[in-house]
């Protein structure tokens, strides 16, 4: 033992294993995201799709797309879809909107996170335009209508006839009001 523990091969390699596993736990984050993106699991949608459709599709069918909205925590926003569900034909671009109202006298910055159920349909929902691609801001007491343009591609598996598009709204930032009307 007079050599010191780092002369011991087993000790050194075990310490190496500990350090590796610590960083491996952080590597799980990108690995997980890549895995979900490649397989389309977990209902995640990443960014806009190109508006282009491969041609020779044999048939088109009707799919019922339902819209859900959730306001996370205590964000002071009213947020709902303007229509609860629409029937769409596969490969045809449809448009709908969500309505959001700021219920405060402060400017709000919001982020909206999408999710698709069933998860396996996520890669077949192609969004051309979505308010979820970037942060949104609402002036005090402002109401905005946010558009989505999307299509359901015809590679959607046959046994899925209902697709749920869910949006969860999070408050990111609230503008601090300056002391103008501060009463005491």
């Amino acid at each position: 033992m007079d050599k010191g523990p780092f002369k011991n091969k087993i000790f050194t390699s075990l310490v190496g294993a500990v350090i590796f596993m610590f960083f491996f736990s952080f590597m799980l984050v990108p690995l997980y995201n890549v895995f979900c993106e490649v397989t389309g699991l977990n209902g995640k949608i990443y960014g806009p799709s190109d508006f282009f459709k491969k041609s020779n599709e044999t048939y088109e069918r009707q799919v019922n797309v339902r819209f859900l909205s959730t306001v996370s925590g205590s964000a002071p926003v009213t947020f709902y879809p303007s229509s609860a569900n629409i029937e769409v034909l596969t490969d045809k671009v449809s448009k709908t909107t969500y309505v959001a109202t700021n219920n405060t006298n402060k400017k709000l910055t919001l982020s909206i996170v999408p999710s698709v159920s069933p998860g396996l349909a996520a890669e077949n929902i192609k969004k051309i335009q979505c308010f979820c691609f970037s942060e949104q801001t609402l002036e005090p007491y402002e109401t905005q209508e946010w558009p989505i343009r999307f299509y359901v591609d015809s590679e959607l598996t046959d046994n899925v006839n209902n697709v749920y598009l869910s949006y969860t709204l999070f408050e990111k930032e609230r503008e601090e009001v300056l002391v103008a009307n501060h009463e005491h």
């Binding site: 011991n8 294993a17 350090i19 997980y32 977990n42 996170v113 998860g119």
Partner: protein, 527 residues
């Protein structure tokens, strides 16, 4: 230490322990450190048990009687954390410290100073964790699994994170010490396959700890960064994913489950063989079974989270992989039964605890198989059936094996025989108490009673009352255990070096109590 017969040459470094508190603070002796770990674990067991008594008192009848739901959640969380990280794991590390050098014929652990550090980090970690009880915001109340983003929004999360970091560092150092000791310091002639099974079980456990404790450290670090540094690993608002937390946590969590049971397999193998007066049936198959269980533990984690919305193929994979674990576990149970078969059996306290271990752990294993069936799990998920399952594998599983080990090796540690009559009484009270507590939880779970609530629907009242009565019985009978152990330390029939006539192994070749320094020269193995 005057009673110790020193039959070796005297060198300057052969000395007895220091006197008083400094002996324990500065000790590098594996026996002292093992003792410290075991007493620490016992204290944690009583504290975690007190929390459990609080939980069962609240659940004795429907409605809120003793505490509000926030306090209840804090008790549930702290009960889990204290029992796992303060009770079961340190108890096994304590046994490892005492027994591994004795069983492989080594003079001490390979890195005695690190050994001291890894023990003394534990009181620090638990001091930090328990200090939250006296703070505004209180103790963590998000469950021992600390699912994000629930936990990141809790007060005092930083204390929890640092406590986990420190106890993780303690476990990692302890494990490295175990592996290096076993790999380098075995008596000449002791090949890996000749190693006693407790040593084998700890070698595998130590590798599991080295692989997954850093992942736990990573998970809590991400939690800390989410809570204080503005990252969004697990927060959907910033593009993170709460399901990712569950994957990272259970990638640690499932091997952790086996960390808490593998040493129990080793202990049970020794005790059953001793009191059946037969060599263990299938020594090498036991080793292969433990290695298979350890390897499989890395590919089954998602069975804890079947209901998060995984694709069918993943659910099938994790279901089959989980069921596969029943095979090596079945091999072990078979071998224990085959060892008992046609043995000359006597029923001393350690044997009683070990037989109860085999039976009750197997019941826990069967309910585990039921939970592994994905479609059934959608029904059982987060009900008391799960609570009954993991308490069956942890209390009459891990905890009974620790009690068996204490009774089995206590004469070697103290030089005194424990009171056999009281030991048996402790066993029967514990055995009856544990079954009254946890068996009815299967029923209320299957009937749909959810976990982690301070209150429940009226139809569950009778079984919950029964369960609480059992818990008080089990809890109180552990005071008897404390009394028996303390009494044995001071008085009792003097133990012979052999202690048990069927016992086999190097630890039985040294005096009882084991001298402060043993195996200064490596022993010769016969056969």
């Amino acid at each position: 230490m005057s009673a110790v017969v020193e039959n070796h040459d005297h060198h300057d470094d052969h000395h007895g322990p220091r006197k008083g508190f400094m002996r324990w603070l500065t000790t590098t002796n594996h026996k002292d450190i093992g003792t410290l770990y075991l007493w620490f674990a016992f204290a944690a067991f009583l504290l975690g048990g007190a929390f459990a008594m609080g939980i069962r008192a609240e659940l004795f009848e429907p409605g809120l009687q003793l505490m509000d739901p926030i306090r209840y959640n804090q008790l549930v969380t702290m009960h889990g954390l204290i029992m796992i990280f303060g009770g079961v794991m340190p108890a096994f590390v304590g046994l490892a410290n005492w027994l591994i050098p004795l069983q492989i014929g080594a003079p001490d652990m390979a890195m005695p100073r690190m050994n001291n550090l890894s023990f003394w980090l534990l009181p620090v970690a638990f001091g930090i964790l328990l200090s939250t009880a006296f703070m505004e915001g209180g103790m963590p109340g998000f469950g021992w699994t600390f699912y994000a983003p629930l936990s990141t929004n809790y007060p005092n999360i930083a204390y929890f994170v640092f406590a986990i970091h420190i106890m993780g560092a303690s476990s990692i150092m302890g494990s490295i010490n175990v592996v290096v000791t076993i790999m380098n310091m075995r008596a000449p002639g002791m090949t890996l396959m000749k190693m006693p099974l407790f040593v084998w079980s700890w070698l595998i456990t130590a590798y599991l700890l080295i692989a997954v404790m850093p992942v736990l450290a990573g998970a809590v670090t991400m939690l800390l960064m989410d809570a204080y540094f503005g990252t969004s690993f697990f927060d959907a608002a910033g593009g993170g994913d709460p399901v990712l937390f569950q994957h990272v946590f259970w990638f640690f969590g499932h091997p952790e489950v086996y960390i808490m049971i593998l040493p129990a397999f080793g202990i049970t193998s020794h005790i059953i063989s001793t009191f059946s007066r037969k060599p263990l049936f299938g020594h090498s198959s036991m080793v292969y079974a433990m290695v298979s269980i350890a390897v499989l533990s890395f590919v089954v984690w998602a069975h804890h989270m079947f209901t998060v919305g995984m694709p069918l193929v993943a659910e099938l994979f994790f279901m089959w992989a989980t069921m596969l674990i029943a095979i090596p576990t079945g091999v072990k149970v078979f071998n224990w039964c085959a060892t008992i078969f046609k043995g000359s059996i006597t029923y001393e306290t350690p044997m009683l605890f070990s037989i109860a271990f085999v039976v009750l752990f197997t019941i826990g294993g069967f309910s585990g198989l039921m939970l592994a069936i994905t479609p059934a799990d959608f029904q059982y998920h987060d009900t008391y059936f799960v609570v009954a399952h993991f308490h069956y594998v942890l209390v009459p599983g891990a905890v009974f094996s620790i009690m068996a080990a204490v009774y089995y090796w206590l004469p070697k540690w103290t030089g005194n025989m424990y009171d056999e009559r009281m030991g048996r009484m402790h066993f029967w009270l514990s055995f009856i108490g544990v079954n009254i507590t946890f068996f009815p939880q299967h029923f209320v779970g299957l009937a749909g009673m959810p976990r982690r609530y301070a209150d429940y629907a009226l139809q569950f009242a009778e079984w919950n009352a029964v369960s609480s009565v059992g818990a008080f019985l089990f809890g109180l009978s552990q005071l008897l255990f404390l009394y028996i152990v303390v009494k044995t330390v001071f008085v009792g029939k003097k133990a012979t070096p052999q202690v048990w006539d069927g016992a086999d192994g190097l630890e039985w070749t040294v005096d009882s109590p084991a001298p402060y320094h043993t195996f200064d020269t490596p022993p010769k193995l016969n056969g």
